[in-house]
């Protein structure tokens, strides 16, 4: 045995350097591969144990939470319940991860339950110390920890942390910023939307949709800030302002809306026309004719034809009919025909069909008249 090793050793020493290097690399790669397999397997065991712990904690905490949420607990019983939960999650090694599991559990219930149950869960969240953990994470965590903390606080409706969160609405990391903006609207309502007045970072469409989803709750309230947003240099704020106008029925600021019909950014312009249509702003029809002549963009023209269908009268019927007869662009003919149908002027379409003016127009009119599509 020993001879074998010495022989191998001398063999290796005698090798040319390049052999040595490559041999060394091969052996270290194979060792690396073996080590990685072991790491993967250990990672797997770790995951399994976390999963088991998660299951165990949920199973034992769940009934306690159910009791808290659905029973008439007095102060004493509530404290006992919290003690019980604390005992379950307590552990020298795993407390942090146990709290995270508990956190998800409570958030989950909170997302689904409302009313009295809702308030109890909030109380639980505070009392058990999860709120404090979220606040600490917000102050000291990496960006994704910060963002998650803000998200948790807003999901749990921790209104008192609004002030802490507001500082992050123009934070340098986009994800943190977005979460803070969302939380601001969720916790602070329309008053907290002031951050939009001088926001100069762009908001993604995703973010706009999220903020809109939150804002839909103020449906019948007057949001006087909209005017400022429509005048913003930040196109994403303008578009958001228009969305608010449309979905929250903000009829004021029509003058500003009229100006936006001529906006140079296609997205803003399109949204403005759509908003004018949705708010039944018929006074702007003259402007729409003008824009229709000015623009070359099919999308804008389509929006205008659609708006005419909702806002127009007999003059627009004529214009739409003309469009079907003369226009070569399929999409525009289609839109015009659809508008006529929405105006209830099937008669115009039917008579058009009978006159057989153009084959293309005719098939489109037939399509539009088919109610099954």
């Amino acid at each position: 045995m020993r001879r074998f090793f010495t022989e191998t050793y001398y063999f290796l020493v005698a090798l040319e350097p390049r052999y040595k290097i490559v041999l060394f690399l091969v052996i270290s790669l194979l060792i690396l591969a073996a080590v990685m397999v072991i790491i993967v397997l250990r990672e797997r065991s770790r995951k399994n144990s976390v999963e088991n712990r998660e299951r165990r904690i949920s199973r034992s905490v769940e009934p306690i939470i159910q009791e808290i949420v659905f029973s008439e607990y007095d102060g004493g019983e509530f404290k006992d319940a919290i003690k019980k939960i604390n005992r379950i999650v307590d552990s020298a090694l795993y407390r942090k991860s146990n709290m995270a599991i508990l956190n998800e559990l409570i958030l989950y219930y909170h997302r689904n339950l409302g009313g009295e149950a809702f308030n109890r869960l909030e109380m639980l969240y505070r009392e058990i110390g999860l709120k404090q953990i979220a606040l600490d994470n917000l102050r000291t965590g990496e960006w994704h920890i910060k963002a998650k903390a803000i998200n948790d606080l807003s999901t749990m409706r921790m209104g008192e942390s609004l002030f802490d969160i507001l500082q992050y609405t123009d934070y340098e990391n986009q994800n943190v910023r977005y979460e803070a903006q969302y939380a601001a609207v969720k916790l602070g309502g329309k008053k907290a939307m002031g951050f939009l007045d001088d926001l100069d970072t762009p908001m993604s469409e995703w973010q706009q949709i999220r903020l809109l989803d939150q804002s839909l709750k103020f449906e019948y309230e007057l949001i006087d800030r909209v005017g400022k947003w429509l005048k913003s240099e930040n196109n994403s704020v303008v578009v958001f302002g228009l969305m608010i106008m449309r979905h929250l029925n903000q009829y004021h600021e029509k003058g500003e809306l009229r100006k936006l019909l001529y906006h140079k950014d296609e997205k803003v312009q399109e949204k403005a026309i759509e908003t004018a249509r949705e708010l039944a702003y018929a006074e702007c029809l003259e402007n729409l004719y003008e824009v229709y002549e000015l623009t070359k963009k099919i999308r804008i023209k389509k929006q205008i034809l659609r708006a005419m269908g909702d806002l127009g009268g007999s003059k627009e019927v004529g214009f739409l009919r003309e469009t079907i007869a003369r226009e070569k662009e399929y999409d525009l003919v289609f839109e015009a025909a659809q508008s006529l149908k929405r105006m209830g002027r099937r008669d115009v379409l039917v008579s058009y069909k009978e006159q057989e003016l153009s084959e293309k127009g005719e098939s489109i009119v037939k399509h539009i008249l088919d109610d099954r599509i």
């Binding site: 490559v22 790491i39 797997r44 949709i209 599509i373």
Partner: protein, 509 residues
């Protein structure tokens, strides 16, 4: 690098250069994979962190979500069409339509659809914005539950033609283009649309997603209910290959905005731009790659500041061939498809006008995806020749091959590790070990096979003038409860192509 004869003859110098180039090339390939791998890990981690608290509900209930048309071309799919359409209709998204194109099937696909979904023909005015074969009829359902289903019956014209017809009929702002026999995750559309909605500076023209292998997975009613590693060794090899290709290769290319291929199995496209650049090309084999490249070119040439996105989540599951012969035909076709696209767009090569795709992606494809197997095959031939002639000392070479083997295996296992800490799909310990085992065998069995397919693909393309589709046989999905257990034969059916893959063994041994 080799043992020289006493005289420095010309042949020795040539051999020297040959080895210098191949060794250098190999090391270069290895390093580039390492770089791609690291980039992917960084990207996937960022993605997972960002999405750890994402709530898709906001968008799911939003009136402002952009409209999407799901385009599903079908040819002779009667065995599974009903189920596939049902699972498409149950995708989670606020406003979408499903457009199924029956591309002149010779089986009962259409009749089955009509019966199941209570369809009737309507007066649809098809706008042939993209030229296609004649559309015979457009069907809609009498049942309001299915009011977002449109079925197009047209003359047979191939997959590209069917997709173009679907685009013509669609009303959405975006299209989700899929293979009808792929199994999609319920929230795949939400996840694929997110990058479009998140982009604030550039114009996102398309996003792709990760395709995984469905063989041996449990499937119920068009949904994956249990993820398994395939049973057959050949499919296990492909599992590793797809993992490397999607998890490492494409995620990295996605983060560099250098993707040249959005797989035909799963991709969302901005419709306006697809139409503007002419839609799918009927004459090409690799229509998915060709379209991606053409869209990028078009956007650049029209001065659109664009970007192509990629979602690292596994979103789509597909069956891969379980027989060597079928796989050979598939790979042969992919080789020809990629080759055709590369040749058709050779303008891009090292052209700084096209930015990253001209300077990095295209040369990478040319050098590593196309040339690598050829160089490898050529190298092996020469080696055999040299050693027969006794010109070289091959002991160092053996060692070098061992190095390549070690590297490949380590890389594969690193991929498994990354999968483990990111998406963690293969949950059974024994199955994982089987993948490790397959990883040890792969460079010895599967890789030479791929080289062979690629070489014959090149041969067929250049010398046989073959461009038509090879046929593809697939084993039907396993259903736990009764139903269709037979073999499903899909003729002339293109496949999702994970072409932008990281090769298993660097070439040039």
């Amino acid at each position: 690098m080799i043992e020289f004869d006493n005289q420095n003859s010309l042949i020795d110098i040539l051999i020297y250069i040959f080895f210098f180039v191949t060794y250098g090339y190999t090391v270069f390939v290895m390093v580039s994979y390492l770089v791609l791998g690291i980039l992917s890990v960084v990207q996937a981690r960022k993605y997972l962190r960002r999405n750890s608290y994402t709530d898709y509900l906001n968008i799911l209930q939003s009136p402002e979500a952009p409209t999407v048309s799901i385009l599903a071309p079908a040819y002779n799919e009667e065995a599974s069409i009903i189920e596939n359409v049902r699972s498409l209709l149950s995708i989670r998204y606020p406003n979408f339509e499903v457009i199924v194109v029956n591309d002149g099937s010779r089986d009962r696909s259409l009749i089955k659809l009509i019966e199941e979904y209570q369809l009737e023909p309507v007066d649809f005015a098809v706008n042939y914005a993209l030229a296609t074969k004649n559309v015979k009829a457009v069907y809609k359902s009498k049942n309001p539950t299915y009011n977002n289903l449109v079925v197009v019956d047209k003359e047979n014209g191939g997959k590209s033609d069917a997709l173009n017809a679907a685009i013509n009929v669609s009303t959405g702002e975006y299209t989700l283009n899929i293979d009808v026999d792929c199994i999609l995750e319920e929230d795949c559309l939400l996840k694929l649309m997110k990058p479009f909605l998140e982009e604030t500076e550039k114009n996102m023209i398309a996003t792709g997603g990760v395709v995984r292998i469905a063989n041996n997975c449990k499937i119920e009613k068009g949904r994956i209910t249990e993820i398994n590693v395939p049973n057959k060794l050949l499919s296990q090899f492909q599992t590793l290959e797809y993992l490397r290709s999607f998890l490492l290769g494409r995620v990295a290319w996605g983060s560099l905005d250098g993707l040249l291929l959005i797989s035909g199995a799963l991709g969302v496209f901005q419709k306006e731009l697809v139409i503007a650049c002419g839609g799918y090309d009927d004459d090409t084999i690799g229509e998915d790659m060709e379209l991606t490249v053409r869209m990028r070119r078009y956007a650049r040439e029209k001065d659109i500041d664009y970007v192509v996105g990629f979602v690292p989540d596994p979103l789509c599951w597909t069956e891969v061939p379980e027989s060597w012969a079928v796989l050979r035909r598939q790979r042969n076709r992919w080789t020809r498809g990629a080759l055709e696209t590369l040749l058709a767009h050779k303008r891009l090569f090292l052209n700084p006008y096209y930015g990253k795709i001209g300077m990095i992606s295209y040369p990478y494809w040319l050098l590593f995806e196309w040339l690598a197997p050829l160089i490898e095959a050529f190298g092996i031939l020469l080696l055999v020749l040299f050693s027969l002639l006794g010109v070289i000392n091959i002991s160092f070479l053996y060692l070098f091959i061992a190095l390549i083997y070690g590297y490949t295996v380590s890389f594969t296992i690193a991929t498994l590790y990354i999968e483990e800490i990111t998406f963690f799909q293969y949950k059974k310990r024994r199955q994982l070990l089987r993948l490790v085992l397959a990883g040890l065998l792969e460079p010895l069995i599967f890789h030479p096979f791929l080289v062979y397919c690629s070489v014959t693909g090149n041969w067929d393309y250049f010398f046989e003038g073959k461009k038509a589709w090879g046929s593809m046989k697939r084993v039907g999905f396993k259903k736990p409860s009764g139903g269709n257990k037979g073999r499903k034969i899909t003729a002339s059916k293109p496949n999702p192509s994970p072409k932008n893959q990281v090769r298993s063994t660097p070439a040039g041994a």
